[in-house]
Every structure is written in structure tokens, then in C-alpha cells.
């Protein structure tokens, strides 16, 4: 997935445009979720690997698909009538929006923090950057001139 992230984002973007013009609103979420997962994968990737970010992306992708299509199924069951029941204050499909699609993605922020030290940034990254830093080279050249 990481190697072809550009191609996947391109395909997802083209697909979403097509859905807009054809009003394929039930397909649109699938392509949007593909976009989100590949988008985050680009940020989580290190040298072509996803490491501990891989399970996070699986959960994110599958979780989103379940939530969106549960919302659509519940919506289709009663698209325009009065709600027959309420779940924690909202009609069922809206409850999926509020408690699922809104609040569950907050866990992605927790996931980022949990893999931060062992995957997102490592001490050796900072050492390598220091060695190639233009800032450091500029400072050194100023020092030499002085």
C-alpha cells in the first residue's frame, strides 16, 4: 500500500469526483475511507514499512466502514419518517453519527501517542538530521569566518 500510496490517493480522488457527479452517495464513503487510510499511512510510513501503525490503520479502515454502512442501513430503514426509537438522545442512525463517526476517531490521537516513542520519532532520526542539517552547517560556516 505504501509503495503505491500516490496511485491509491489518485484513484480515490477520481472515484469520489465520479460519485459526486453520479450521486453515488453510498459508494462515496468507501472511497473517502480509502483516502483517509492511505493518507494516514503516508504519514506513518518509515522506509516503506508501517510497523505498529499497520494494525491501527486496519482498525481505522474497518471501523469506519462498519460505522458508515451501519449508519446507511439504519437510515434506509426509516429515511423520512418520525424516529421510532431513540438511543442516548438521538434517532438510531444519528446516534451512529454522534457516538461513532464523531467520537470514536478521537482514539486515533491516542494511537499516535502510543506509537510515538517506538515508531514516530527515534533518537537516531534526530542524530542523522543533525548530521545533515543546513542550520548546523550555516552556524559552522559563520563560526569559521569569525
Amino acid at each position: 500500500m505504501v509503495k503505491y500510496s500516490g496511485e491509491l490517493l489518485l484513484a480515490a480522488s477520481l472515484g469520489m469526483l465520479l460519485c459526486i457527479w453520479l450521486n453515488w452517495w453510498a459508494v462515496f464513503p468507501l472511497l473517502m475511507i480509502l483516502f483517509f487510510v492511505v493518507y494516514v499511512a503516508m504519514g506513518a510510513e518509515r522506509k516503506g514499512k508501517l510497523g505498529p501503525a499497520a494494525p491501527i490503520l486496519w482498525v481505522m479502515g474497518i471501523g469506519y466502514v462498519i460505522l458508515f454502512y451501519l449508519l446507511i442501513i439504519l437510515y434506509k430503514a426509516n429515511p423520512t419518517g418520525m424516529p421510532k426509537s431513540y438511543f442516548l438522545g438521538f434517532p438510531p442512525a444519528t446516534a451512529v453519527l454522534v457516538y461513532g463517526i464523531w467520537l470514536l476517531p478521537l482514539l486515533l490521537g491516542v494511537a499516535y501517542a502510543l506509537i510515538f516513542d517506538k515508531w514516530i520519532i527515534k533518537a537516531e532520526d534526530l542524530n542523522r538530521l543533525e548530521a545533515h542539517s543546513w542550520k548546523r552547517k550555516e552556524k559552522e560556516s559563520i563560526g569559521l569566518k569569525g
Binding site: 500516490g6 434517532p91 538530521l129
Partner: protein
């Protein structure tokens, strides 16, 4: 503006004046600490987790979230919640994609603005120039709308006329921004963000109390039209979905958010930042959701007359249903939302004028801090003129502000810092396409020449087009694994 409720009671006035004095105090405190351009534009990289996270969220939450958002919810039910709910995933995504790269970029280069990062990434002054132009367009539009909103809020609190209100509010914003640059900005953002959170949670609890609980509110709104309480609300389904897409991926593309990632003391402070920002924003979204639905519930149950203008939802509810202290805090929160966003834009605009555009032509401005302060003043004057005398232009620019930034920044910076195949030509083409698509589609829709099908949002389509152009041109120009056009330090940033 007629019909605006006036709140000038001793309690609300005291809270508002205290709030404004604290903002000025932070400006004075920051003045002595702002000596270099790095201090003025990126705080000299001195801030910690809580300040950067809350400042990032409060920059994103503009006055629209406190006035326009509840107004949309009042009118269309749940539709606009897709905008505000998107931020729960948007902040963590922005952290995955940008936090590390932006902070590392500041580690290896003297980057103070987004166009600085673009120039370093693409080794292109052309890309730097076009990014600065896109930012200036967005900044002028957003500033214009903030000036107008400021006038209404000051009128609401102090009972003065709109122009005088806008000028007083702007004077305070200008003073603390000119004195303390972004250092004053992030500390006032932090203070303002905390006020917004308290205000939002307070209003949410009050709404539940007045409305008789969420189930009762939902039921009353559904009686008017069941669609309003359905998952898509009263607007087309495609509007809700394209809003969600635009606001989820566009967050990382907002320069006033992205540049905050340069500012932490060290990279490790970013660890919990995405989560903190997302939770802080979610707490503020409670106001957006509850206020509009509660007011509509009161109207539908016959307890309140229908509102003449949905934008009066928040002020009407505050005046008639909340205690003065809470109303005062929310109004201070509203001023806070406007000022925190305005300050960020002044800073971005000043950087574009004093640093990015001259450097795109190979010129370096001496004494950047002095000129940045002058540019800040100039931007305030120009945007005030626009806001007061060119309202149609401001309305247009304001509408596509988020989309303009997203279309320019998402492909070029967010994807570009995570994908080595991106090229300078593709970056310039994407920025231009994003700008043109936003402008053209908004203007055509406004004058009924052409509207996007099925309720799709212009900004979302413009972002998709810009991403497609960026990816397609890059793929044509560059093969897999070719990173020969990257400087070694930038390559390390992209690979870390």
C-alpha cells in the same frame, strides 16, 4: 445591523472588559520577549504541549463555530455537524502527516512560514511565491469576515454601532499582535481556547436543562421535519459527505494550524498534541450541536417565536435562556474565537508580505520584525476597508477560505512532505488549479451560472482537483524511488 440583541449589562460588560485587558496584558508581556523574526513568526520555538495543542485548536475554531455553526444547525438540523465532527479525526490525521515533518523541517532549516517549507521541499522559489499568493488570498478573505464578525460581537456586548465596535476590537487585536507577534498570539490563543471550552461545556449543559434533555430536543425537532434529526439533516447527503471529507483532510492544510507545529520546544512535546487538540475541539463542538438544536426545539414546541435570522440563534438563546455570567463567558469566548483566528491570519499575512514574496524574488528584507509589525498594521487597514466597503468580495473570499487553504496546502505540503515523487511543477500547478477552481466554482454558483451537482461542496471538489493534478503531474515527471532532486537534509526529514 438591526435585530442584534444587546447585552450591555454590568456583568457581561465586566467579563468582556476583563477578557480584553488580559489579551492586552499578554501582548505587553510578549513584547519584551519578541526580538527576532523567529520570535515574531514561530515564538522562537519555546512553547510546550498544552499551549501548542490548545492554540492549534483555537486557531481552527473561528467565530463561525460560535455563530454560523449553531445557526446552520437551527436551520438544517444535523447537516452542519459533519463539519465540526470531522475535526475529531482531522487533528490526529494532521499529527500523523505533519507534526513530525514540520518540526523536523524547523530542526534542519530556518523555516518560519509555510512557503519557507515549500521552497526547501521543492527547491523552488516559484512554488514559494505561489504558496504565498494563495495564503494572502485566503488571509484577506478570512480577515475580512473576522472584522465583520468582530463588529457584530462588539455591538452585541457594548451596544455601540458596528463600525466603532469593529474598530475597537481590531485595535486591541492589532496592538497585541504587533507587540508580541505570534508569541502573544499563541498565549492569547491558549487563554482564549480555555475560555471557549468552558463556554461551550457550560452552554451544552444549559441547553440540556432548558430543552428537557437530548431525547426531548430530538423529538421536538423531528416533529417539524424528521429529516432534520436524521443523520444527514435537511441538506443533500452529498453536502454532508463532502463537508466531512473537506474538513477532515483540510485541517492539516490550514496554515494557521500547520505553522503551530514548528513552535514546540522540542519534537517530543508533540506526542499527545493531536489528541489534546481533537478533544478540546470536540468540547467546543458541543455548543455548535446543542445550541442550534435546542433553539429549534423551543421554537417547534411553541415556547419561542421563530427566529427571523438563523445567525441570531446563539445570541438569542444566550440573552433569553442563560444566566448573565454564562452569557458573558460565551460572548468572551466568541470574541476569543474571532481574535485567535484573526491573530493567526495577521501573522501569516505579515510573513507572506515581508518574508515569502521578497524571498521568492531573491530579496531579503532587513529588520524583518519591524517590517512585519508594519505589515500587520497594513493588513488590518486593508481588511477593515474590504470588510466595511467591499462586502460582496469579503463574503466570497470568506466562503472559500478553508477550501482555498486546503486546495493549496494539502497536496503541496501535507502530501508533498510525505511523498518523495512530488515535483515543483506539480506543486505550482496544484496551487493554481486549487485557487482557480475555488474562485470559479464559487462565483459561478453565486451568480447561478453553474452549480456543482447533488449539493457537493465547492471546496471539496477544488481539493480533489488540486490533489489529482499534483499526483498526476508528479507521476508523469518522476519515477518511483527517484529522489535525486531532494537535498540530503530534506530527504532525511521525509524518510524519518
Amino acid at each position: 445591523m438591526s435585530g442584534v440583541p444587546i447585552f450591555n449589562t454590568p456583568v457581561t460588560l465586566s467579563i468582556a472588559i476583563l477578557y480584553l485587558l488580559v489579551c492586552l496584558g499578554i501582548g505587553v508581556w510578549s513584547y519584551g520577549r519578541t526580538k527576532t523574526a523567529a520570535d515574531y513568526f514561530i515564538t522562537g520555538q519555546t512553547i510546550g504541549l498544552w499551549v501548542v495543542s490548545i492554540a492549534a485548536f483555537s486557531a481552527i475554531m473561528s467565530g463561525f463555530g460560535f455563530v454560523g455553526g449553531p445557526g446552520l444547525t437551527y436551520k438544517f438540523g444535523t447537516s452542519s455537524l459533519w463539519i465540526t465532527f470531522a475535526q475529531a479525526v482531522a487533528f490526529p490525521m494532521a499529527w500523523f502527516l505533519l507534526a513530525k515533518r514540520m518540526r523536523l523541517m524547523a530542526e534542519v532549516r530556518n523555516v518560519l512560514s509555510l512557503p519557507d517549507a515549500v521552497a526547501a521541499r521543492y527547491r523552488s522559489n516559484g512554488a514559494r511565491f505561489w504558496m504565498a499568493v494563495a495564503l494572502l488570498f485566503g488571509v484577506l478573505g478570512y480577515l475580512g469576515t473576522q472584522v465583520q464578525a468582530m463588529g457584530v460581537v462588539m455591538q452585541t456586548i457594548f451596544g455601540i454601532d458596528l463600525v466603532t465596535g469593529a474598530l475597537i476590537g481590531l485595535a486591541i487585536l492589532t496592538i497585541y499582535t504587533m507587540m508580541g507577534g505570534i508569541l502573544a498570539g499563541v498565549y492569547t490563543d491558549f487563554f482564549q481556547g480555555v475560555i471557549m471550552i468552558f463556554a461551550s461545556v457550560g452552554v451544552f449543559l444549559w441547553c440540556m436543562n432548558v430543552g428537557g434533555g437530548m431525547t426531548n430536543i430530538s423529538h421536538n425537532v423531528a416533529l417539524a421535519d424528521p429529516k432534520l434529526m436524521g443523520p444527514w439533516g435537511g441538506m443533500p447527503i452529498m453536502t454532508a459527505l463532502t463537508w466531512y471529507f473537506l474538513f477532515a483532510i483540510g485541517n492539516a492544510g490550514q496554515p494557521h494550524m500547520a505553522t503551530k507545529l514548528y513552535m514546540t520546544r522540542d519534537i517530543y512535546r508533540l506526542k499527545w498534541g493531536g489528541f489534546v487538540s481533537a478533544v478540546a475541539y470536540a468540547l467546543c463542538a458541543l455548543l455548535w450541536m446543542s445550541l442550534g438544536l435546542t433553539m429549534r426545539s423551543l421554537v417547534e414546541s411553541g415556547k419561542h417565536a421563530p427566529l427571523a435570522n438563523p445567525d441570531l440563534t446563539a445570541t438569542t438563546f444566550l440573552m433569553e435562556y442563560t444566566p448573565e455570567v454564562l452569557a458573558g463567558i460565551v460572548l468572551a469566548g466568541l470574541m476569543a474565537a474571532i481574535m485567535s483566528t484573526g491573530n493567526s491570519f495577521l501573522n501569516l499575512g505579515a510573513a507572506a508580505l515581508v518574508r515569502d514574496i521578497p524571498q521568492a524574488f531573491g530579496k531579503k528584507v532587513e529588520n524583518e520584525v519591524f517590517w512585519a509589525r508594519l505589515a500587520t498594521l497594513g493588513l488590518v487597514v486593508v481588511s477593515t476597508f474590504f470588510a466595511l466597503y467591499m462586502k460582496t468580495l469579503v463574503a466570497l473570499l470568506g466562503v472559500f477560505g478553508w477550501g482555498t487553504f486546503a486546495a493549496a496546502v494539502v497536496p503541496v505540503v501535507v502530501i508533498g512532505l510525505n511523498w518523495k515523487r512530488g515535483t515543483a511543477t506539480a506543486a505550482i500547478a496544484a496551487i493554481i488549479i486549487g485557487l482557480v477552481a475555488n474562485f470559479a466554482l464559487e462565483i459561478m454558483a453565486k451568480y447561478n451560472v453553474y452549480k456543482l451537482p447533488n449539493g457537493a461542496v465547492v471546496g471539496a471538489v477544488a481539493v480533489m482537483l488540486a490533489i489529482i493534478v499534483y499526483l498526476a503531474i508528479s507521476m508523469i515527471q518522476k519515477k518511483h524511488d527517484d529522489d535525486s532532486d531532494l537535498d540530503q537534509d530534506i530527504k532525511e526529514v521525509l524518510e524519518a
